[in-house]
């Protein structure tokens, strides 16, 4: 059974009523007249961007809360409707700018599902490798900033040191450190550079030891434990009702990971373990993410083993109606030149239909709903943003907590405001 919470965190449900995302001040407390309303954000360093919380305080205690989002709304979904499919690939990376590689993947997978394209094995494994590196990178940002906000400044430097190693690998593969646009419809934009494997191996050897260091710094740190254990409780039932996914759901005792339960890419061919904890608090969300970094490193290692054997294999599908022809052919083949011209100017056409593709991004279920009318541009693109859904749980996590816990709770939900507001 996927849902097997071993511990009862609290009686019944804590989801506020009638509005599930707004914690209202109880009348008996409001009548006492000591409630102070504080505006937290949108420009507060611990809001991870521009989240605004309106908090009602009774002394140190949080008695009311509502979240205001939209400060980073940039209309990505609208803009994508006026871009051809292949130009649109650059947008999803910028939506969730920390988990960029995973967000890029979900859009590319949606296009490929409509086109019914078979992607070469090498591309599938490389995608998996980069997505796992990206997952580690994203969790490092969470851990570094989350700990920084609770006073563990050194964590930030350690985490960003390893994060930089991953971004160096990205740079090696795609030329840019973030927002690589390396996934192309049908495969990868370019072959894997020959120097990548030894560098990636070095990282895989280095990382487990670095994770041990993080745990030594935090897992026995009295201040960290005090600030995170038993804080921001969310039961499995409430997490399900609030549509939570990813590390938040797994920290509440639900064994649910799309990589295992609905395998995509080649996740059914690699060995990994899904960490599940049942405390439902900030501490367990931290534990889940740290364990996931270990598992991801392990997956990266397995991908490297496979990819090293695939030297010389194609990295993109040979479908001239969708994929650009090889550069050298343009000088000798009229047909290739025409294909190149048509794809660059007009774009390829994608069969009519609607699909919803979901993957396990570092933040949870990242989904992409796409409608095509058979033309060269998407009719409608809608992203199911895991950060947006995670913030819906703030009010529930915040019941019976103090204002200082608010920082820890918001940090543990690990939402990226670009993803929330799109």
């Amino acid at each position: 059974m996927a849902i097997a919470p071993r511990r009862k965190l609290y009686e019944g449900s804590r989801i506020p009523f009638p509005i599930p995302t707004v914690l209202e001040v109880p009348d008996e407390i409001r009548e006492q007249g000591d409630v102070l309303q504080v505006n937290f954000g949108p420009n507060h360093p611990s809001t991870h961007g521009v989240l605004r919380l309106i908090v009602d305080l009774n002394g140190e205690e949080v008695v009311g809360m509502s979240a205001v989002i939209g400060y980073l709304h940039t209309g990505f979904e609208k803009s994508m409707e006026s871009k051809t499919w292949w130009k649109g690939i650059t947008y999803p990376e910028r939506i969730d700018y920390v988990g960029f590689q995973n967000n890029e993947l979900v859009f590319v997978l949606a296009i490929e599902k409509l086109l019914a394209l078979e992607v070469p094995e090498k591309a599938t494994w490389m995608r998996m490798l980069l997505c796992e590196l990206n997952r580690i990178q994203s969790h490092l940002v969470y851990l570094g900033t989350g700990a920084l906000e609770l006073g563990a400044i050194s964590m930030f430097w350690y985490c960003f040191r390893e994060r930089d190693m991953i971004l160096d690998l990205s740079e090696m593969v795609a030329g840019t450190r973030m927002h690589t646009r390396y996934f192309q419809t049908g495969g990868l934009a370019e072959d894997i550079p020959s120097g990548f494997f030894p560098e990636a191996r070095k990282f895989v050897e280095w990382m487990p030891q670095a994770i041990d260091d993080y745990e030594q710094l935090l897992s026995a740190n009295e201040i960290w434990l005090e600030r995170t254990k038993g804080i921001g409780l969310l039961s499995a039932e409430d997490a399900i009702a609030l549509g939570q996914s990813g590390p938040i759901l797994r920290a509440s005792g639900v064994n649910w990971d799309l990589r295992k339960n609905e395998p995509y890419l080649a996740y059914d061919q690699v060995q990994f373990h899904v960490p599940v904890y049942d405390g439902g608090d900030v501490y367990d969300r931290y534990k889940v993410r740290v364990d996931e970094m270990r598992e991801s490193t392990h997956i990266v290692e397995q991908c490297l083993d496979r990819l090293e054997e695939m030297e010389g294999e194609p990295w993109i599908v040979d479908d001239r109606k969708v994929v650009l022809p090889p550069r050298h052919e343009l000088h000798t083949s009229m047909e290739s030149l025409i294909h190149h011209f048509k794809i660059v100017t007009e774009g390829y056409r994608v069969p009519e239909g609607e699909v919803y593709v979901a993957i396990e991004s570092p933040r949870g279920e990242s989904g992409c709903y796409v409608v095509s009318d058979g033309g060269a541009k998407p009719w409608r693109v809608k992203f199911r943003a895991p950060s947006f859904v995670a913030l819906e749980a703030t009010a529930t996590c915040m019941s019976n907590s103090y204002v200082a816990d608010l920082i820890a709770i918001v940090g543990s939900l690990d939402s990226v405001m670009g993803d929330t507001d799109r």
Partner: protein, 183 residues
């Protein structure tokens, strides 16, 4: 899996390995409750509203080939894969509820309702509390009105924003540019 018992079911569509249940908007909540309690769809993953104003309906609307449900068949000489036109849509707006069953037998289904402009649909917030922000987003960006939602206000755009930006008749660049020297 069989969805025959779903209340208000208008039609079932199987495409790209996904199941879409088109449901009568008047019986949406009933259908959702049935899917949650009887079929086990305990998670509402997403609500996606789409506007089909100007959806291509005749050959003159389409240049080049149109895809086919089986993928692209561009090998038929002279056809460019033109086997069919885009399927006509019953009404202007669609609202798709993507449901997920978190259990040992995972499953996904899309529940879809079709609406005319201004036609309200009942809120599913009582079935899945997570619908709160999803419905506010669909209201804000697409102008879908959810009856029974306790706090149906704008969420991503400013509170005093005019219009619903993701509608097809809302132009890109529709926001007036304001200069600092202007009063």
């Amino acid at each position: 899996m069989t969805y025959e018992g779903v209340p208000g079911l208008v039609r079932t569509k199987e495409e790209h390995g996904e199941t879409t249940l088109v449901v009568d908007p008047a019986r949406l909540v009933e259908a959702c409750r049935h899917l949650r309690d009887e079929v086990g769809f305990n998670v509402l993953a997403d609500i996606a509203a789409s506007d089909f104003l100007g959806w291509p309906s005749g050959p003159e609307d389409v240049a080049g080939y149109i895809g086919t449900p089986r993928g692209r068949n561009i090998t038929v000489p002279g056809s460019w894969g033109l086997e069919r036109l885009p399927e006509p849509k019953p009404k202007r707006f669609s609202v798709s509820y993507h449901l997920l069953r978190v259990s040992n037998e995972p499953a996904r289904v899309r529940v879809q309702v079709w609406l005319d402009p201004g036609e309200p649909v009942a809120s599913v917030i009582d079935v899945w509390p997570t619908a709160d922000w999803h419905e506010r987003e669909a209201y804000d960006l697409m102008g879908i009105v959810f009856e029974g939602h306790p706090n149906l206000t704008r969420i991503l755009m400013d509170d005093d924003w005019q219009g619903h930006p993701l509608r097809k008749d809302y132009p890109i660049g529709g926001e007036p540019v304001r200069f600092s020297g202007e009063e």
